[in-house]
């Protein structure tokens, strides 16, 4: 099916369902009482503005328009690190986080894995990917297989390189630590959702003398990654990295949409501060109304 037709069908379906659902829900009252929550109109406006922004940029990116994204410093390190591992003849360890596949961090981690695996496949460096959930395991296996195929080396892919390790957080960490000590990977890459195990992993990697690249959106773990790893992607840089590496229009579009909202939010804050000061100096009294817009009535 051609792409534009698919898009048309999708948009048509969206519109139809939105209409049917909203109309039916507005009229189909199961009990008495207000149906629509008017105090959530501010949220509705934000959701609409946000969705339009994200969808607009995604559409633009899909049309092939090049959207500018700034370079993420830690990213060049990935290729460099793969090169080093090849020279040393030692494997690369890639952990896409310890969260399940329904978490955004894991999705970003898994999608960067695809790009990393492609480089790895080209260099023919051994790869180890421990997965904590069977769902993540399956996704990683498929993505690695695909990457090896894209690199033109489908036969060199070793299915055992993506491994399922015990489901519990620390059992998983202990097992990964065991791999680090036994198989001594030259490079450890941690991109995904990480929690308390971040330091355990990074310290053990340090002891094994590996180059380490880390990234997570969990702010509470970032200080340790910064302390113990060579490169760290902080917070959203993880998502940006995923977009930057893959040049994927969808991811890029999403980021551009979010950037637009950030500009709007910064403006909202600055206007708020100015109004607050004007209110304080008795110039105009508009601040209470303004701040009220951002509050559920």
């Amino acid at each position: 099916m051609p792409a534009h037709l698919r898009n048309t069908i999708r948009i048509g379906l969206t519109a139809l369902l939105l209409t049917v659902v909203s109309v039916s829900s507005a009229f189909a009252q199961a009990e008495d009482g207000p149906a629509f929550l008017t105090n959530r109109i501010n949220a509705l406006i934000l959701v609409i503005v946000f969705s339009v922004a994200v969808m607009y940029f995604t559409q633009q990116a899909r049309k092939g328009k090049t959207l500018f994204l700034r370079k993420i410093p830690g990213l060049d390190a990935v290729e460099e690190a793969v090169g080093r591992a090849t020279e040393m003849g030692r494997p690369i360890l890639y952990i896409p986080g310890i969260l399940d596949l329904d978490e955004m961090d894991t999705i970003a981690g898994v999608s960067i894995l695809g790009r990393v695996t492609k480089i790895v496949a080209e260099y023919e460096t051994p790869l180890i990917v421990p997965a904590r959930y069977p769902t993540v395991l399956a996704a990683c296996q498929e993505i690695c297989e695909q990457a090896y195929a894209e690199a033109g080396k489908p036969d060199t892919f070793n299915k055992d390189s993506v491994r399922y390790l015990a489901g519990e957080q620390f059992a998983f960490t202990a097992a990964v630590n065991g791999i680090m000590m036994r198989e001594r990977p030259a490079t450890n890459i941690y991109l995904g959702g990480f929690f308390a195990e971040s330091l355990l992993l990074a310290e053990t990697g340090n002891a094994a003398g590996s180059i380490q690249i880390a990234g997570t959106s969990q702010p509470e773990q970032l200080p340790f990654f910064i302390a113990a790893c060579d490169y760290t992607l902080m917070g959203e840089e993880l998502y940006a990295a995923s977009a930057y590496l893959s040049h994927e229009p969808l991811m890029t579009g999403g980021l551009k949409g979010q950037d637009l909202i950030k500009v709007i939010l910064i403006t909202v804050i600055i206007v708020g501060v100015i109004l607050s000061l004007l209110d304080h100096w008795n110039v105009i009294h508009f601040f209470d109304i303004y701040s009220g817009w951002f509050q559920e009535a």
């Binding site: 957080q169 620390f170 308390a196 969990q218 509470e220």
Partner: protein, 277 residues
């Protein structure tokens, strides 16, 4: 090899040993220093104190056994405070691994002390999967998500749960969590259902929670063992958290010393190699 290089190359196991000694020492020679109360902990205390007697409070056990040392004192202190005010307590756990078991053990032990009865004074809902869906779903109906309590008794047979079937029937939520669930309690339950809440968080989670304190979404915050110790002191039940603060002092000083020593070695090593200034 000069002294700095030798220091830099020290086996990490010596550091582990120093760490072990620092934590053991205060158990042999205790020095009890006072713990000052911070406004965040005072906020928790005041929020609970100002609840009308016999309010229905939801207490969460959103933590793994791994952080028991920080979180169990919080749960215990909260139970002391709530039971002494005759509050009705509904406990819930969003952690599959161990959460429901801890909730049973701790709540029952404290309830026995206060002579509270299961079913009328407190209920343990237990665990259901996917906390985002659970938190949102409880807003529609507790019974559709939890047909039965942790031991399998249908909710209809528990007197307390006949009056409680959604957030509308809950006056306050006391979160004790060691992970991201606190974030969702705030952004889903507080934002959409307006239930006031306070949070006992592990020290790792606490810095993030300050943003929710600042926005007024949380009424108070217990940050780690220090927060638990302050709360224990406020309610007058000094326990393991207060006793642990001595060891905290010594090991913190050790770690600060290690940072200073490590950096000293780093800079001296660089200077001797002629790098830098």
């Amino acid at each position: 090899m000069n002294v700095w290089e030798r220091l830099a190359a020290i086996d990490r196991r010596w550091i582990y040993l120093a760490c072990g000694i620092a934590v053991l020492m205060p158990f042999i020679i205790p020095v009890s220093l006072p713990v000052y109360t911070t406004p965040e902990v005072q906020g928790v205390y005041d929020a609970v104190k100002n609840l009308p007697d016999s309010s229905v409070v939801m207490l969460t056990y959103d933590y793994y056994p791994s952080t028991l040392a920080e979180t169990e004192p919080m749960s215990r202190a909260a139970l002391h405070h709530l039971f002494s005010k005759d509050c009705k307590i509904v406990t819930i756990s969003n952690i599959p691994l161990g959460g429901p078991t801890i909730a049973e053990r701790v709540t029952r032990e404290l309830a026995a002390q206060y002579g509270k009865e299961y079913g009328t004074d407190y209920v343990n809902l237990g665990y259901k999967a996917n906390y985002v869906a659970v938190m949102k779903g409880l807003g529609s109906s507790i019974r559709s998500i939890f047909p039965a309590d942790n031991s399998g008794t249908p909710l209809g047979q528990l007197p307390l749960m006949q009056e409680v079937d959604s957030y509308e029937d809950i006056d306050f939520i006391f979160i004790v969590a060691d992970n991201a669930t606190a974030d969702y309690w705030v952004s889903i339950v507080n934002a959409q259902y307006g239930v006031p809440m306070c949070c006992g968080a592990t020290a790792v989670m606490a810095p993030k929670m300050y943003a929710f304190m600042g926005s007024g979404q949380l009424k108070g915050l217990l940050g780690g063992m220090k927060g638990a110790a302050e709360y224990e002191q406020l309610i007058g039940h000094k326990d393991r958290a207060v006793r642990g603060m001595d060891a905290q002092s010594l090991i913190h000083l050790l770690i600060i010393g290690l940072v200073v020593l490590g950096n000293l070695g780093y800079f001296m090593g660089r200077r001797e190699k002629g790098i830098g200034r």
